[in-house]
């Protein structure tokens, strides 16, 4: 008996397997390997229920149709000596199987419509975050009334060595970032989604949010996470070379923790301002510069400045040439090439550090430094 059941389960159709395993998955917020996750929002649960409802109806219809077909395949074989019937139409039956599916569709359309209307109800958000897609990273900006918006970039943190298979892959391979988006729990958060270059799409399955980021236009979408936790997603619209390498990590925390984090961020911004007035030693700049380089430059210029998509930095005429020109390339990029303008993406301290690093690492050994104030002055002209 057990043996038979085992064999049966092997033969079971995929959809049934899918249904059963979903029922087995009791915990609500858990990520499933084979099914949509209801996630941690009310809307997400509704979408999940809708998904299971349509899947269920489809499975039942499918089993009926295939049941009839396989019955026919088995019992109406020529080898059983049957004589074929000759009927070839029946108006009644044909009307029935036009009307009945239509009614079934109505049963799907009603919950679909109510859920859709709820998704489109963007009003009364308590927090607004501007999400901007870049090739290939995300920028988050928290809108505030006092004009001191907190904003930062969120880059892939997975080391290139793991991608190249020279190091063991971590648990959150390709789904980890240097700075996650932090959101308060039980808060209606509105995302204003846009893009800097090509179309991207901001997708976090657990938050039931996917919205295209379109350059020049803003799209809005909202979520309201009811459970604290770390939720991961990815860019969903093909956006060029590193489309697969621009993940999203959202940290949903308690409201107190969020307030603390936000205050910390604001203080950090103030500290950066303070740092800008300071002068650093070569070693200090090198240390900070390496961290900045690994996140922002390495993907194109290589771990040892050997180049790749971008030109080599080791021994390059820019990194070993005029320091002002080098700084200008970092800040304004090189138009018409893949070298972006990093002036708006890195703060002045990080910019100073990374330029210094490039001039002194990889055997360049120029011995000169750029200070934050130099960057500031260069930007101001």
């Amino acid at each position: 008996m057990v043996f038979k059941a085992k064999r049966l389960s092997k033969l079971a159709l995929g959809p049934v397997l899918l249904l059963m395993s979903v029922f087995a998955m009791a915990a609500g917020g858990e990520v499933s390997d084979i099914n949509m996750s209801p996630g941690v929002t009310e809307v997400g649960h509704k979408i999940y229920d809708l998904h299971m409802w349509i899947l269920g109806i489809s499975t039942v219809i499918g089993l009926l149709v295939f049941g009839v077909m396989f019955y026919s395949i088995y019992y109406h074989r020529k080898s059983r000596g049957v004589t074929p019937a000759t009927f070839h139409e029946s108006t009644k039956v044909e009307i029935a199987w036009t009307v009945v599916p239509f009614l079934i569709l109505l049963a799907m359309a009603v919950p679909a419509t109510t859920t859709l209307l709820e998704i489109y109800d963007n009003d009364d958000a308590e927090l607004d975050v501007v999400v901007t897609g870049y090739q290939w990273k995300w920028k988050y900006e928290y809108l505030s009334e006092d004009g001191e918006n907190v904003s930062f970039f969120s880059n892939l943190r997975t080391p290139q060595a793991e991608i190249d298979n020279t190091e063991a892959k971590g648990e959150h391979y390709l789904l980890e970032v240097d700075e996650p988006l932090v959101l308060p729990v039980d808060t209606k958060v509105r995302f204003l989604v846009t893009a800097n270059d090509v179309i991207h799409s901001w997708w976090v399955p657990q938050l039931a949010v996917k919205r295209d980021a379109i350059p020049g236009f803003i799209n809005e979408v909202w979520t309201n996470a009811t459970e604290e936790g770390v939720y991961r997603g990815q860019c969903a619209e093909l956006c060029g070379r590193n489309h697969g390498f621009m993940p999203i990590v959202v940290n949903v925390v308690s409201k107190e923790e969020y307030a603390e984090w936000l205050a910390g961020k604001q203080q950090e911004a103030a500290e950066i301002k303070e740092l800008m007035a300071q002068t650093f030693t070569l070693d200090q700049l090198m240390e900070r510069g390496k961290a900045v380089y690994d996140v922002n430059c390495l993907a194109c210029h290589g771990a040892n400045g050997e180049g790749g998509v971008g030109l080599p930095i080791a021994g390059s005429p820019v990194a070993t040439g005029d320091i002002g020109h080098h700084l200008d390339v970092g800040i304004n990029g090189v138009p018409g090439t893949a070298m972006q303008a990093f002036g708006g993406q890195l703060n002045d301290v990080d910019m100073a550090a990374v330029i210094t690093y490039q001039r002194n690492a990889f055997g360049n050994n120029m011995g000169d430094t750029i200070q934050p104030i130099d960057v500031y002055n260069h930007k101001k002209g």
Partner: protein, 526 residues
């Protein structure tokens, strides 16, 4: 017209200058098979890279070129020309016409294809590589951010469109004007009907694609801003124009497949097709609906809610005529006397897998859930169930079904059945797990993925290699049949088959129906 009654010319010039529908059909079929192998090779590279997490074989930009070319070559090089080839061979035979209405144009519409695909494939070796914005080539990735190959790509699309339009005009002109006396519209075999409707779709939407790529060309080279916000344009406009073409295109691919299956299932059920009239009406309604559902491909672009609702309802409606078709096929089998030769096996495979693809299509039509499915592997699984198990399986069935008629030799049945079972298992092993990874959150068009998707991706890749290998068996079987298959000379190769094509000798002579056949007025459609 002097050499009208002679056999084919000798040597290369036979193929270069032929105006014979059978020769042109044969060339289309072989060409599409080559493209199928080429597009399949691209797919193998994709699956090999995705075999394990991490980047092993190719660079991400090359991976993007592979996904782009795989889509373009399969859609425009393999599936569409294969059905055009089938139409060329079979439509004159099925309606009792001596040839296509416009034989010289027929020659051109074929011969502009091979150089075009050569050009498209050659972009792989250009500086900056082949197009890499996906087969849907959304602006501005395909315009402002594209490499120099985009201009060649646009030229290719223009020529392909021209070829398709010429082919379609030919088919419509043939069906409307060249039917044998007594072959009324409602007596035409369903394959002819589905192709007639498909041809109208092609004439209507290929110019729209041409318009879309023309706008791209103007944006890239002539300073217009159709798709660039900077000059007052809108990248989303591209998606609307593309999918206004793209959704009917999906039916262009699947409708002839419906036609093929509607010929084969009755033949091996030894019972007339159930609900012929409703099949015709269902095909026409699917074609009509295809014009008002395009934006279901773009639920996430931020349309107004009224738009989302309209496109959702319209899309759901397509389930009704599609359902009618599936029910009709099953009813055709019901109480027949079934045998399971290779064409029938592939047709049943089509029926089962296409129905699964239809269900996932219905799921995708539901806008709120689509926010989770969109651009995930769930979509990839869905459209491969429809395109591969739909179009390619039915095309495979068609080749096995009519090959004996074409070359007067029987294929090896055991090898055919083996081909089916390996294909069927390989296909499902490839694409069924993709539903799972898609639902679990894996986006499409990524060269590398997170660890939780690893097992299913490995399964997928193994399945793809199996499916790919099974096509070599098919090729071998076809060549073996043509060269050394068992000779067969009865006109009616299959005892249950109906239709005019089974009244001509086997193999079909170079010229057929030079005097129109007599259609028995009492005889129903075939």
């Amino acid at each position: 017209m002097g050499d009208h009654h002679h056999g084919p010319a000798k040597g290369l010039s036979r193929w270069l200058f032929t105006t014979n529908h059978k020769d042109i059909g044969t060339m289309y079929l072989w060409f599409s098979f080559c493209m199928f192998i080429l597009g399949g090779t691209f797919a193998m590279i994709i699956r090999a890279e995705l075999f394990q997490p991490g980047m092993q074989l190719v660079e991400p930009e090359f991976f993007n070129q592979m996904t782009t070319l795989h889509g373009l070559v399969m859609v425009f090089g393999a599936i569409m020309p294969s059905f055009v080839g089938l139409a060329n061979w079979m439509i004159p035979l099925m309606i009792g016409a001596p040839d296509m209405a416009l034989p010289r144009m027929n020659n051109w519409s074929f011969w502009i294809l091979p150089p075009t695909f050569l050009l498209l494939a050659s972009t792989l070796f250009m500086e900056g590589g082949a197009p890499q914005a996906g087969w849907t080539f959304y602006a501005p990735l395909s315009t402002t951010y594209a490499g120099p190959s985009v201009t060649y790509f646009i030229f290719c699309i223009h020529v392909l469109g021209l070829s398709s339009i010429m082919g379609s005009i030919n088919i419509i002109a043939t069906v409307m004007n060249m039917r044998a006396p007594g072959m009324t519209y409602m007596k035409m075999p369903l394959f002819v009907w589905t192709w007639l409707i498909t041809a109208f779709l092609l004439v209507a939407v290929m110019p729209v694609l041409a318009g879309a790529v023309t706008m791209m060309l103007m944006d890239v080279h002539f300073g217009t801003s159709f798709f660039s916000a900077a000059g007052g344009g809108d990248p989303v406009l591209f998606q609307h124009v593309f999918w206004f073409f793209g959704h009917p295109e999906v039916y262009i691919i699947i409708l002839p497949a419906f036609g093929v299956v509607s010929q084969i299932i009755p033949a091996f059920s030894r019972k007339p097709l159930f609900g012929y009239d409703s099949m015709v009406y269902a095909t026409a309604s699917i074609a009509f609906l295809s014009f008002i559902v395009w934006a279901h491909h773009m639920y996430t672009v931020g349309m107004p809610v009224s738009g989302e609702l309209f496109f959702m309802y319209a899309t759901m409606l397509i389930a009704v005529p599609t359902g009618v078709k599936v029910f009709n096929w099953v009813s055709t089998m019901w109480r027949g006397a079934l045998t399971f030769e290779t064409p029938m096996l592939f047709s049943i495979g089509f029926l089962v897998l296409f129905t699964i693809g239809g269900f996932t299509g219905l799921m995708l039509s539901i806008a709120p859930s689509d926010f989770q499915y969109h651009d995930s592997y769930f979509v990839v699984a869905h459209f491969h169930y429809v395109m591969v198990a739909g179009a390619v399986f039915s095309m495979t069935a068609a080749v096995y079904y009519w090959l004996p008629k074409w070359c007067g030799r029987m294929y090896n049945e055991t090898m055919g059945k083996t081909h089916f079972w390996i294909s069927f298992i390989g296909f499902n092993l490839t694409f069924f797990p993709q539903h799972f990874v898609g639902l679990a959150g894996m986006p499409r068009r990524i060269p590398d993925y997170a660890l939780q998707f690893a097992d299913f991706n490995m399964m997928s890749s193994i399945g793809a290699f199996i499916y790919g290998a099974s096509q070599i068996l098919w090729l071998y079987n076809i060549i073996a049949t043509i060269v050394a298959g068992e000779k067969i000379d009865k006109p009616k190769v299959w005892d249950g088959a109906e239709g005019l094509e089974w009244t001509v000798p086997t193999p079909a002579p170079y010229h057929t129906f030079e005097t129109p056949p007599k259609i028995d007025p009492a005889h129903a459609h075939s």
